[in-house]
């Protein structure tokens, strides 16, 4: 059954939306009217420009409230939950690995290409972890190798072969001009050219990476904002068990 929902301000279905944006025009009544018309043109039924401020001579910042009548069927929305599972904590993951595989699971991670930001891969892998979620290095039944930043794809594959990795984690933080996608695609192509795509579980991560994007370009999963080591570890060991059954 359809369940139509609309934005909620202080009354059900009032459709109140908060907006802020900049226009390349000077501040003044004309600019505020232009901002109001712009918001209405997006389908809002009412719009109030509550603040305008000159950012420079030729640019103005607006805060506006709009009212919409458009709703969405909540029941029809399908979330991409493949990478949402963090059901196993550190101890449980290690116990699972011990029981199913009887050996340590090897995970190699790096931030690849020219991307110099280790913050993502560190959050997942470093002993300390992030936001009270221990990183993979602390898991006694995982052998975690964090190669750091600016690692060429070739070197990452070489290293994964050397330590006989079960899973490879690639972090991409810089996304300007879609450089992260090119880099991630190039990695999969290299693996495929070597006939080794099936050998490793491949995972992409970063603040702008979604599971959907990652799967589309040939990864087993993608982990974005709000994901911790628990999510990654749960996915890797379950996937590995699945692979072992095949």
């Amino acid at each position: 059954m359809a369940n139509i929902v609309r934005p909620y301000g202080d009354t059900l279905d009032d459709g109140k939306v908060q907006l802020s944006f900049t226009l390349p025009v000077p501040d003044g009544p004309k600019g505020r009217e232009a901002a109001r018309l712009l918001v209405l043109s997006w389908g809002f039924k009412e719009c109030e420009v509550v603040n305008s401020a000159a950012v420079s001579d030729d640019f103005t910042f607006y805060v506006a409230y709009g009212k919409t009548e458009i709703g969405v069927d909540y029941e029809a929305a399908r979330a991409d939950t493949a990478s949402e599972d963090a059901s196993m904590g550190m101890d449980e993951t290690c116990a699972f690995v011990k029981e199913r595989f009887g050996r340590k699971v090897v995970i190699v991670g790096a931030c690849t290409g020219f991307d110099a930001h280790t913050v993502g891969i560190d959050a997942i892998m470093n002993m300390k972890g992030y936001n009270h979620h221990y990183g993979l290095e602390r898991y006694s039944m995982l052998e975690a190798h964090n190669l750091g930043a600016q690692i060429p794809n070739e070197r990452l594959i070489e290293f994964a072969e050397k330590v006989n990795a079960d899973a490879i984690l690639i972090s991409q933080v810089v996304t300007q001009k879609d450089v992260h996608v090119q880099n991630l695609v190039n990695f999969i192509e290299l693996l495929e050219a070597k006939g080794e795509r099936g050998r490793f579980i491949c995972i992409a991560g970063g603040p702008r990476i979604s599971n959907k994007l990652a799967v589309e370009i040939g990864y087993d999963a993608g982990f974005g904002k709000g994901c911790y080591a628990d999510h990654v570890a749960t996915f890797v060991v379950k996937k590995l068990a699945e692979k072992a059954r095949e």
Binding site: F21, A53, F59, F61, N126, N131, Q150, Q176
Partner: protein, 549 residues
């Protein structure tokens, strides 16, 4: 400046003396070596510029050709005498000016193909080129001082520092103008993400970059002109900042000195720890770059904030203070006065810590008191910025508060959209308005507030200082290089012979000649090398015109 923490003077002196002892053996290594980029920076100050049809810069062509012609260069070949001698020699042989020679080199002429002529003539011509190059730098320094004097008191205190990073220098200009007009004092043009690992500096204006814009001399010039125009209009000096870091530290410093940049990100160990650049290479490069910065009156910013994005800011607070002490000693050794050392730190503790704000206040006040003459560069929260822009704005407000409450010098404005995208124009606007509101409303706060004698703020600072001394003892016992290679900094291990750029180090022979280095050392009052080119080849120790320290 009022002291509020009651820190032991003896302990502070002990920490400084430990840091000085740690740095000393590294300085010995530095003084015995040059690098490819030190040579290229020297060439640039002497007038080498331009690029060939493939975009290879003229300074690289010169150094690479000299090394290729004599593969034994590392241990004593062509480059042993320094690259400049060959450039000057070619200049005399070809009879034209530097612009003409640069063009010839770009078209394929090899300076190494000429046999070295009369050494005395080379020495004289070299001294002349150095006078011209460093003369420009001196003129820039004077112009900056004059403008700052003229517009005294018009900048914010602390200086409000904003980053632009579109990848396109012309777009950067628009963003920078808007930011400066809103009240920013310092504009930093962040570099494209790969540039720190390029062993050359690209040539010309650029419009493509990832996560930032290429640092090139032309881009420096474009932004300088734009900021000068805004400054004239606002009657406020707008500081221009770039990054003398990575594999081309000294060259970027040279270009910045020639184009009147005012600040440079310039850390003694950042490249080693966070960019995996070879440690020997970095140590040699940082000194030369810092001598140039010092001579040019450029304020350096060090990168201690990076320790805290890697390690826990509460537990590892002492690594920041230890690094500040080391950066300070490396700075003094390169002739930098305290007033040009923007030692870095950051507000990066987990926002959920009870009393976290007091610990941040303590850390910032401690840095203020220990480094009382240094401008101090304070960095905003980034690690725990979540995408909740409203919480982010609250965190940035707290950061603005700490900065003003502890009299920081250079205040990098936090962005409410940190961790979402590179800042929009309106994000910067919100940041500047926030800072101006907070700082104006608490203008005299520093003089009004004291801390409880045995309270949390005071005790925390004492604890961090003690931990720092302990840590410096450990480093001292191991030696700095071994301390880095065993992961004592930022939990990163870097082998001594690993990392990028190792092949670019050259041991200086007895015939090494670098009149730029000598002039810098003389100008900064630093001890020079015992011998120079003219002394060993022509028996003329008087070496008039080339100052010796």
């Amino acid at each position: 400046m009022k002291e509020k923490l009651g820190l032991s003077k003896g302990k502070i002196a002990e920490a400084r003396s430990l840091a000085s002892g740690i740095v000393a053996p590294v300085l010995d290594f530095i003084d015995g070596h040059t690098t490819v980029t030190v040579e290229r920076a020297t060439l640039r100050i002497a007038g080498a510029d331009g690029a060939d049809a493939d975009g290879v810069p003229v300074p690289n062509l010169i150094v690479d050709q000299l090394r290729a012609a004599d593969p034994a260069t590392l241990e004593g070949g062509a480059l042993e005498g320094g690259a400049l001698v060959h450039y000057v020699n070619a200049l005399i042989r070809t009879g034209g000016g530097t612009a003409d020679l640069n063009r010839r080199i770009a078209e394929g002429y090899r300076v190494g193909s000429e046999p070295l002529g009369d050494r005395e003539a080379i020495r004289r011509k070299g001294a002349q080129l150095v006078d011209i190059g460093l003369g420009k730098v001196k003129a820039n320094r004077m112009q900056r001082s004059a403008k700052m004097e003229e517009w005294k008191g018009r900048n914010n205190d602390p200086l409000l520092y904003l980053i632009v990073a579109t990848g396109n220098i012309h777009e950067d200009v628009k963003q920078a103008e808007a930011a400066a007009l809103r009240g920013a004092d310092v504009i930093a043009v962040i570099r494209t993400t790969a540039q720190s690992l390029l062993d050359y500096v690209p040539f010309g204006a650029t419009t493509e970059g990832f996560g930032g814009t290429y640092a090139t001399q032309e881009n420096f010039r474009i932004m300088r002109a734009a900021l000068d125009a805004v400054g004239e209009r606002e009657k406020r000096y707008i500081w221009l900042t770039n990054y003398a870091s990575g594999l081309c530290m000294p060259e970027i410093a040279a270009m910045g000195a020639l184009e009147r940049l005012d600040m440079m990100l310039n850390d003694s160990m950042y490249g080693i720890l966070f960019r995996d650049i070879n440690m020997y290479r970095t140590f040699v490069d940082q000194k030369f770059s810092r001598m140039i910065n010092s001579y040019a009156g450029i304020t350096i910013n060090t990168g201690e904030d990076n320790y805290l994005t890697t390690s826990d800011a509460y537990e590892k607070a002492f690594t920041v203070l230890a690094s500040q002490f080391l950066n300070e000693q490396f700075g003094y050794a390169a002739g930098l006065p305290a007033r040009l050392m923007g030692l870095g730190h950051a507000m990066e503790m987990e926002p959920g810590i009870k009393n976290g704000f007091l610990y941040e206040l303590s850390q910032a006040q401690m840095a203020r008191e220990i480094f009382s003459e240094h401008p101090l560069k304070y960095m905003p929260p980034t690690k725990f910025m979540s995408g909740d822009i409203f919480k982010g704005l609250a965190m940035d407000t707290m950061f603005n508060f700490v900065s003003k409450a502890t009299n920081q010098g250079i205040h990098l404005l936090g962005m409410l959209t940190e961790a979402i995208h590179t800042p929009f124009m309106m994000d910067r606007y919100i940041a500047v308005e926030n800072a101006k509101y907070v700082m104006n409303s608490m203008e005299s706060f520093y003089d009004e507030i004291e801390f409880a004698k045995d309270g949390l703020v005071v005790n925390r600072a004492k604890e961090v200082l003690s931990q720092t001394i302990e840590f410096l003892h450990e480093i001292g016992e191991k030696g700095l290089l071994d301390a880095i290679s065993t992961g004592m900094f930022a939990e990163v291990k870097r082998p001594k012979d690993g990392g990028k750029g190792l092949e670019g180090i050259v041991k200086k022979g007895n015939n090494y000649w670098n009149p730029v280095e000598e002039a810098l050392k003389a100008g900064l009052g630093l001890p020079g090398r015992g011998r120079d080119y003219s002394a060993s080849s022509a028996g003329d120790a008087s070496s008039a015109g080339v100052a010796k320290g």
